[in-house]
Symmetry: C3
Subunit: 279 residues, 3 copies
Amino acid sequence: MAGPKNQLVTLLTDFGSRDPYVAAMKGVILSAAPHAQIVDIAHDVPAHGVTAASFILAQVVPCFPPETLHVVVVDPGVGTDRRILAARFGGQALLFPDNGVITHLAGVLPLEEIYAVRNSQFVPPPGQVSMTFHGRDIFAPVAGHILNGLDLRLLGPQPDTYKLLDLPQPRQDGGLIVGQVIYIDGFGNLVSNISAEMIVAQFGAFDRVTAQCGGRDVGQLQGTYAFVAAGEALALINSMRLVEVAVNQGRACDVFGAGVGSEVRIVQRATAASRGGTR
Amino acid sequence: MAGPKNQLVTLLTDFGSRDPYVAAMKGVILSAAPHAQIVDIAHDVPAHGVTAASFILAQVVPCFPPETLHVVVVDPGVGTDRRILAARFGGQALLFPDNGVITHLAGVLPLEEIYAVRNSQFVPPPGQVSMTFHGRDIFAPVAGHILNGLDLRLLGPQPDTYKLLDLPQPRQDGGLIVGQVIYIDGFGNLVSNISAEMIVAQFGAFDRVTAQCGGRDVGQLQGTYAFVAAGEALALINSMRLVEVAVNQGRACDVFGAGVGSEVRIVQRATAASRGGTR
Amino acid sequence: MAGPKNQLVTLLTDFGSRDPYVAAMKGVILSAAPHAQIVDIAHDVPAHGVTAASFILAQVVPCFPPETLHVVVVDPGVGTDRRILAARFGGQALLFPDNGVITHLAGVLPLEEIYAVRNSQFVPPPGQVSMTFHGRDIFAPVAGHILNGLDLRLLGPQPDTYKLLDLPQPRQDGGLIVGQVIYIDGFGNLVSNISAEMIVAQFGAFDRVTAQCGGRDVGQLQGTYAFVAAGEALALINSMRLVEVAVNQGRACDVFGAGVGSEVRIVQRATAASRGGTR
């Protein structure tokens, strides 16, 4: 007899770490699936920050072993008629509210199967469920079933559609690439939506371009932070293969006064020949 | 021979997450009980926040599997003659300073047994113990013994009494229920001490009442946050079965300028008939 | 055949808890070593805070069971030619950037073996590694190998030297000990570099001295915080056997306006006899 497929479960919420909410979910999961191994992705996603959670998920999920279950409860529509979905992307199982939180991940891993979680055999009925804490009352017990080996397709029917966020896309504008800051990390680094691949496709090589942020030149792409002096600004291709504007050992978001949505540009670098044009 | 009963252990402290304190406790527990599975409840309880910790404990402990051990080190009296107690409430084991931190839990789960932790066979002697970090030097090694199967009653004698906090109680005042904000969560939601059961007992049904906070009407009890527009205030029965004043996708504590102790009222709703009194 | 020696692994980083970075590392470790048990030491060390991380490490590592692997990624030099080292101190395995982060630990546990991590059999080649996130791309996979039983000495050659921080040392100055605040914890307590042993060596006993911080007398060494009234300042020998200046249930760093580097003095206590000198 086959044992449970999943035992590893991650949690991504906006519950913070100072309230009873995350631990209540963990208690319910461990009550249902005592051998579960729970890993926190993050709980201090900005409150109701579906877009930030979507970005984080895409960076983290591909790092986990196949058959890991990822439970996402960034869910401003809790208690409304928004659906809860269960899906498999590239061998990773996910349980999440249908609010677009899997948008970035769907661009990274192939969707293999998806179901609306509604089978009353596994989902507690409304009378036994609070309307404001589905994390504890629905997500956690359903996660317990999945960790105990439940086939996702038994959770409910395939939905016709599921929600995806309408994300800003970088555009080519003359010889430039014009993108936006889409994520600011805890170091204050400005992560843009301009990928390494776009730069190679348009300019052929990284050393032919220079970056601008908020109208300010931040120079050629560097290899890493410490290639410039402490306190100096730079741009680089980060570990997500995206253009990032940073300040070595400083906070770029403060130095540039930039936020999510601020413009980042990649432009053709002036060569020595073109600079010395009078010759 | 029976193996250990408890292997799951939770930690609730006010140590924060940036210092060595929590990890030192975990190291000591895992040194004594290598198969322990440690779950964090919270470590960023307000410093010396016995009342907040008591509230959190009551929300979380009932979610865990029977025989889980819960170790609480919110302990402003560390190193004084305050006792350390071990108890069983509703099948859950607890190890905690005798400062009232189990007050809310004692209202939720029945006390089954309680002991003063003092048996020198299991408690390191004063000379081997710092006076300021009993979490590492007493709670953690004693937790190790319990996780290895030690019967709680071997830890020491039953105490004559144990401390309970004197909590504010909601009162009926004419036709009203007048309660207080007792907890503010990370979303800024104002959790009061008025329970769903009190409302039903006094008014018969939820749809006959309206809520007030800080002298301001917040309307009928809603099902969930998103039943009002983003930025609008509301009241609801939350997942703890308590009246909560919130702002959909906002921070009620800021909008209402409210804190722990602020007044929350439940009043009879003006009906169409009573409003249209001139008829 | 012997199984893996280490299964317990701790993480100490300055990545914070709201970004994908820590969870990405955990995913990679668990992909390589599914039975690893991961314990967080801290992730909100001040950004690029090598000295604070060094201090924390020395407090925590000795609490863990032998053969625990401790992975430290406080690494402002990521992607430069700074080395990654693997070492064993007092039976504990460590993987860390060669930036001095093991300085305090090296004063507490004996160095048993140390290697530069560079064997291409176990370290992914530069082309497969981001230059800005060695935590995910080098530290985590190498940790996986160690958790699967790899002998540290196979990771690379012994280095001629390794970096140690130049830490401020307390000095004897006439009859005084003059030290510095070296760490401020989350409670606002001021931890100095003056050890209990120094006081005993110079003055013979704790009750013969009084402490000063920022030119202000904080009195005799107390046993614990609650030996003075709430809000009152005090000094004590803390759980690290260091002189600590604190405010009972308050924040000494604010009360004293003190920071890392602020002066702490231990002086001979005026005795009754010396005070009453006219007799």
